[in-house]
Symmetry: none
Subunit: 267 residues, 2 copies
DNA sequence: CAGAATGACCGATTATGATTGAAATTGATT
DNA sequence: AATCAATTTCAATCATAATCGGTCATTCTG
């Protein structure tokens, strides 16, 4: 068996289990312990895994599932003030008793805080959002069924015939990677899949994007501008973007970090 | 058992209850007290938990964990050793890679700890189980869709056309309020609804009941004895009950709190 | 044939479990 | 309250077993 082949096996095994022992890998590859140790050493040097006594474990990029409130550690800190203001404005649109859909994402996650004191019917595909609302609010939570994708922190089902199709709401809230003339852009195909499933289950589509998103471009278009009812952003929105949204007959809400919010009507 | 596996289990257990004793962890992992003490010491140094006399506690103070519903919490402490032993025997039935269904309940919840060091495909309708496994294990988690009922801590959908129907597993594990000649008994109609939805999605139905459940009677019969493949209980099972199960051609596993388990074949 | 990879061997290191006495906790009695 | 005995928990020690890092002979590869 070639070295590279073993390395593949080792890396694969290490992903599968919390730890793999040297003996495990021996019987898995059929080579001697000495060789496995050498392989582990090599892979350890290449940062492909971590070497521990008795075997190896997967290198876990900073634990992404934190405790309630900080699920997406990396993105979370970015433009946090803008996101909070935007999320606050989004929740302000809702009245107690409303049915809403919240798509998973770092911006939409910020909605949980203003939602803590409300009582709505919330449908979400985000595990952290559901968890937080369950623990810290009295909202009614409905979850979409499916497998939990740890990386994106969303629940996704490959089937079309799930609860999602039975939940209909007044508004759906979602974030995005970018917002341009072509429409709503997303980077992750998995997120596209999740979001497209939810779009259409609500009367109005409300998009939460901080102003930096107007300059972002991604490869994947999620939906055209026409589908969007409302965009909530911060006051850094470029004039060109505002004009574009206005031309598309989209209601634009500019949330100010201070806490107030103003509405620039379009149409 | 490898050091890292133990650490996972310990960290998992410590989240579950305010304190875990050294003896608890011994029977949970099957290693000696000395080793557990050393592990706790190590994890204490790594700030992963706090060491206290007699055992360890979570680093985060009395944070009301995922078990929001009060009944869940009070039930949790009752017959905890039996439940743990039973849950351990249940997990011992599974091999890595298996697909299993875990129905929500306090006994089945105990399966999360031995599962912490495993890698399975787990389908559940219990939010706490999903949450715990998501945070403390590498298992693949699939959730049933629907509304979260806080009291029972389960996710339930009024619709029949959800993911549940698409997930098929080798075994389904469930608890019950009682087990008698009429079959499996449950007290809460909501639980009945949740459980009946899942039964039939697995080859074998494995029932986890501590021996006190054989004297319990409830008004609602969930399913007849014939549907049950295996019953896992503790050594307090009355002879009459054992005879009843044997007559029904049910495989009975008696889990001993010590850690070992023995099988009393039935037919 | 040269160079690298591999496997076997061996002393050194480390983890584990049992034992023991010290320390802390409990609770029973004064 | 205060003391003491019984129990539990702990830390230190040691023997055993597992694991490791090196050396060296052998095999594979180009």
């Amino acid at each position: 068996m070639h070295e590279k082949e073993r390395h593949r096996i080792i890396l694969s095994a290490v992903q599968d289990r919390p730890v793999v022992t040297v003996v495990d890998l021996c019987s898995l590859t059929g080579v001697s312990e000495a060789t496995i140790r050498r392989d582990i050493s090599t892979l350890h040097m290449q940062q492909k895994l971590r070497r521990v006594r008795g075997g190896a474990e997967a290198i876990t990029p900073p634990q992404f599932v934190g405790l309630a409130g900080r699920p997406f550690v990396v993105n979370e800190a970015l433009r946090i003030n803008e996101k909070q203001a935007i999320a606050r404005a989004a929740v302000a649109l809702c009245e107690d008793g409303d049915s809403i859909i919240i798509n998973g994402g770092t911006t939409t996650f910020q909605m949980v805080h203003p939602l803590a004191s409300r009582r709505l019917q919330v449908f979400t595909n985000s595990f952290p959002i559901a968890e937080h609302l369950l623990k810290h609010s009295k909202n009614t939570i409905t979850l979409s069924g499916g497998t939990i994708y740890r990386e994106q922190n969303i629940i996704l089902s490959p089937f079309d015939n799930d609860v999602t199709r039975n939940f209909y709401a007044r508004r759906m809230f979602m974030g995005a990677q970018g917002l341009g003339p072509l429409g709503l852009m997303e980077a992750d195909p998995l997120l596209i899949q999740a979001e497209q499933k939810l779009i259409g289950q609500a009367d109005e589509l409300v998009v939460l994007v901080d102003s930096s998103k107007f300059s972002q471009r991604s490869s994947l278009v999620l939906c055209p501008l026409e589908r969007i009812s409302t965009v909530i952003t911060d006051d850094g929105i470029p004039d060109a973007a505002a004009a574009m949204l206005e031309a598309a007959d989209i209601n634009v809400i500019v949330a100010h970090a201070g806490g107030a919010q103003e509405e620039e009507a379009a149409s």
